[in-house]
C-alpha cells in the first residue's frame, strides 16, 4: 500500500506544483458538551453547501483545494496559531478561515475599536484565547488574492478574558448540483474581487445562539442560505448584508422553541467589514503545467492518509485539462491496489445516506471522461480496506453540473 501512496503523492505534487490553491482553514469545536453537536451539523452543512461548491466552481480556473480541518481535540490555540503563521501562499491563492465554537471579549476593550471577538478554541484558559483580529491581520499579510474570515462564536463580554422547533435546513438527499449561473456567481465573488473580508456572527457585546443542539446555529443557517441564493450581481457587501438580515429576521420573526418546547427569545446581529476592490476575472482557464521531472514532495506531511490520496487521485482523474492517456496510465497502475470487487459509494449532500454505488473501475473511467462531474470529494475515513489490505470501498461526495 505504501508503494502506491508514495507514487501518487510524487505524481500529484508534480502535477499540482503550478496550481493555484484555495486554502480552507477550519477550526471547529465539535467536542463541546453544549454546542458540539450543533457545530458538527454546521460544519457538515458548510462543507457540503459551501466548500465543495466553491471548490467545484473554481476548479476549472486551476484552483486546487487544500483542506486543513481541525475538529475535536485538534482544535487548539496552538494548532490555530501554527497553521495561520506557517501558511505560505502566492498572490493568486485564496484563503478561507472558518471558526465555529465558543468566543468572548474582554470588558476592558472598546467595541468600536475592537469589534471582533476572541476564540476559546476548545480550551478553558482565557490567556490562551486567540483574537480574530490577529488571525485576520496575519492572513491579510500573506498577500493572497482574497482572504475571507468567518467566525461563528459569541462576542459577549467576559471579565475573565484579558418558532418552529428549529431552523429547518433545506435537506438535500441527492448529490450536490451546481448550475452554471450559480457557478458564475461564486467565481465572480472569489475571483472578481481582491482584498480581505471578515464576518462574525454577533456584534460586540452580543452572544451567538442556536436553537437545538443537533441543528444548525442561526448564523450558519443564514450564511448557507444566503450563499445558495447568490446572484450574478452579488458582491461581498450584498452577500454579507443578506446574511445579517437573514440571521436577525430568522430570530426575530420566527417562533423558536428549544428541545423542551419552550419559546426562545434572543437577539443577535452579525457584523462584517469588507475591504475589496473589483478586479478582472480570469477569462482563460489555466492549465497547470506538468514539469519534466517530478519535484521533491514538499509540504505534504499531512497527506499521508488514504482519504487524501484518493481525494487527490479523483481530482487528478477528473482534471480534463490533463492528457487522457496519462490519467488512464496512472489509474491502471493504482487499480491493482484495489480489490477486484471494490466499489465507490456516493453520499448525499446532507446526511450520510448512500444514494448510489458503482464499481471503482467504472467510476474512475467515468471521472476521466464525464463533463458533468465538477468535483469528487472523499470524506475523512472514506476509504475502507479489506482483510488483505486492498481498497474495498471508497465514499464520495459529488458535485454535479446541472443546467436547466
Amino acid at each position: 500500500m505504501k508503494r502506491y501512496v508514495i507514487l501518487v503523492l510524487v505524481a500529484f505534487s508534480a502535477i499540482f506544483a503550478g496550481a493555484k490553491n484555495i486554502y480552507w482553514l477550519k477550526f471547529v469545536d465539535t467536542d463541546d458538551r453544549h454546542i458540539g453537536k450543533m457545530d458538527q451539523s454546521s460544519l457538515h452543512a458548510f462543507n457540503t453547501h459551501v466548500m465543495n461548491v466553491v471548490n467545484a466552481s473554481l476548479a476549472s480556473d486551476g484552483y486546487t483545494a487544500v483542506n486543513k480541518e481541525y475538529t475535536g481535540s485538534d482544535t487548539s490555540p496552538e494548532n490555530c496559531t501554527r497553521t495561520v503563521s506557517d501558511l505560505t501562499c502566492s498572490s493568486d491563492d485564496i484563503i478561507v478561515f472558518l471558526y465555529m465554537g465558543h468566543g468572548g471579549r474582554s470588558t476592558r476593550e472598546s467595541g468600536e475599536e475592537h469589534p471582533w471577538s476572541q476564540m476559546w478554541l476548545a480550551q478553558n484558559n482565557p490567556e490562551k484565547m486567540v483574537p480574530v483580529e490577529w488571525v485576520h491581520k496575519q492572513l491579510k499579510a500573506k498577500g493572497a488574492r482574497l482572504c475571507l474570515v468567518v467566525t461563528m462564536c459569541c462576542n459577549s463580554e467576559d471579565p475573565g478574558i484579558s418558532p418552529k422547533a428549529s431552523p429547518k435546513f433545506l435537506t438535500n438527499f441527492g448529490a450536490t448540483k451546481l448550475a452554471s449561473e450559480e457557478m458564475n456567481a461564486i467565481r465572480k465573488l472569489f475571483l472578481g474581487y481582491k482584498g480581505d473580508v471578515i464576518i462574525t456572527s454577533s456584534k460586540a457585546k452580543e452572544s451567538s445562539w442556536g436553537p437545538t443542539s443537533d441543528n444548525l446555529d442561526f448564523f450558519s443557517d443564514a450564511f448557507i442560505r444566503s450563499f445558495e441564493s447568490l446572484g450574478n450581481n452579488s458582491s461581498w457587501n450584498s452577500f454579507f448584508s443578506d446574511v445579517c438580515a437573514k440571521t436577525t429576521a430568522t430570530i426575530e420573526n420566527g417562533v423558536w422553541e428549544d428541545e423542551n418546547g419552550r419559546i426562545i427569545k434572543v437577539t443577535q446581529h452579525p457584523f462584517f467589514k469588507t475591504n475589496v476592490v473589483p478586479t478582472d476575472m480570469p477569462n482563460d482557464k489555466v492549465n497547470p503545467e506538468v514539469p519534466d521531472k517530478p519535484d521533491v514532495v514538499e509540504d505534504r506531511d499531512d497527506k499521508t492518509n488514504l482519504d487524501d490520496v484518493f481525494g487527490e487521485l479523483f481530482s487528478y482523474l477528473n482534471n480534463k485539462s490533463l492528457d487522457l492517456n496519462t490519467r488512464r496510465e496512472l489509474w491502471d497502475m493504482i487499480k491493482s491496489e484495489c480489490s477486484s470487487n471494490a466499489i465507490v459509494k456516493f453520499i448525499s449532500q446532507d446526511g450520510e445516506m448512500i444514494i448510489d454505488r458503482k464499481p471503482i473501475d467504472k467510476y474512475a473511467r467515468r471521472l476521466m471522461t464525464s463533463n458533468i462531474i465538477l468535483l469528487a470529494v472523499v470524506p475523512k475515513g472514506g476509504v475502507k480496506l479489506n482483510s488483505e489490505g486492498a481498497v474495498q470501498e471508497v465514499y464520495v461526495y459529488e458535485v454535479i453540473k446541472s443546467d436547466k
Partner: protein
C-alpha cells in the same frame, strides 16, 4: 304591671342590640390573615429546579454574595426579596445553546446548616446556573428579566459591567 313593663323594656333593648352583640361574638378578634407567599415562591422554584435545591435556598440561614474578592452578607430582611427574585418562573424557561463559556461574574451562596448551593450569574450570556457544594453544575437557564442584575447592582453600585448589563438588558 310596672315590673312587667320594665322587664319588657329590658328585653326590647336586648333584642335591639342583639345583632351587634351577635357579630361581635362570632368574630371576637379582627385578625388579618397572613398570606404565605414564600410557600408559593418555593413551590414555583422547586417545580423548575428541584426540591432539594429549593429546600436549601428557601431554608437558607445565611446568604452571601461573592464578587471578585468582595463578600457581602445579605441581611436577613433582604432574604425575602431574593426569594421573590429567584421565584420568577420566566427565568427557568430555557437553556439556549450559546457560543460562549459561562463566566461566573457574581455568586450568591445559600447556606443552610452544612448544606449549601451556589447561584452564579453571567453578564455576557445573561444566564444563571446552580452548583452544589462540590462545584458540580446542577442546572442553568437563560435570564429573561434583569431583576437579579438589578439586585446585584444595588449591592455593588460602582460595578460598571453590572450597571451596563442592567441598562442594556432589554435592548
Amino acid at each position: 304591671m310596672r315590673k312587667i313593663k320594665h322587664y319588657l323594656a329590658v328585653v326590647c333593648l336586648v333584642c335591639l342590640f342583639m345583632p351587634c352583640l351577635g357579630v361581635a361574638k362570632s368574630n371576637p378578634k379582627r385578625v388579618v390573615k397572613r398570606v404565605n407567599v414564600e410557600a408559593t415562591y418555593k413551590r414555583d422554584f422547586a417545580e423548575r429546579t428541584s426540591d432539594s435545591i429549593a429546600d436549601i435556598v428557601f431554608g437558607a440561614k445565611r446568604i452571601v454574595l461573592v464578587k471578585d474578592s468582595v463578600t457581602y452578607v445579605v441581611p436577613r430582611y433582604q432574604h425575602a426579596l431574593l426569594m421573590h427574585i429567584l421565584s420568577d418562573k420566566g427565568n427557568y424557561e430555557t437553556d439556549i445553546p450559546v457560543f460562549a463559556h459561562f463566566s461566573k461574574y457574581a455568586t450568591i451562596k445559600f447556606i443552610n446548616g452544612k448544606k449549601s448551593v451556589c447561584l452564579s450569574v453571567d453578564c455576557g450570556t445573561k444566564k444563571w446556573l446552580f452548583e452544589g457544594a462540590d462545584g458540580k453544575e446542577l442546572c442553568r437557564y437563560n435570564l429573561f428579566s434583569a431583576e437579579i442584575f438589578r439586585y446585584l447592582h444595588a449591592a455593588f453600585p460602582n460595578d460598571s459591567l453590572l450597571s451596563e448589563t442592567v441598562k442594556n438588558f432589554y435592548l
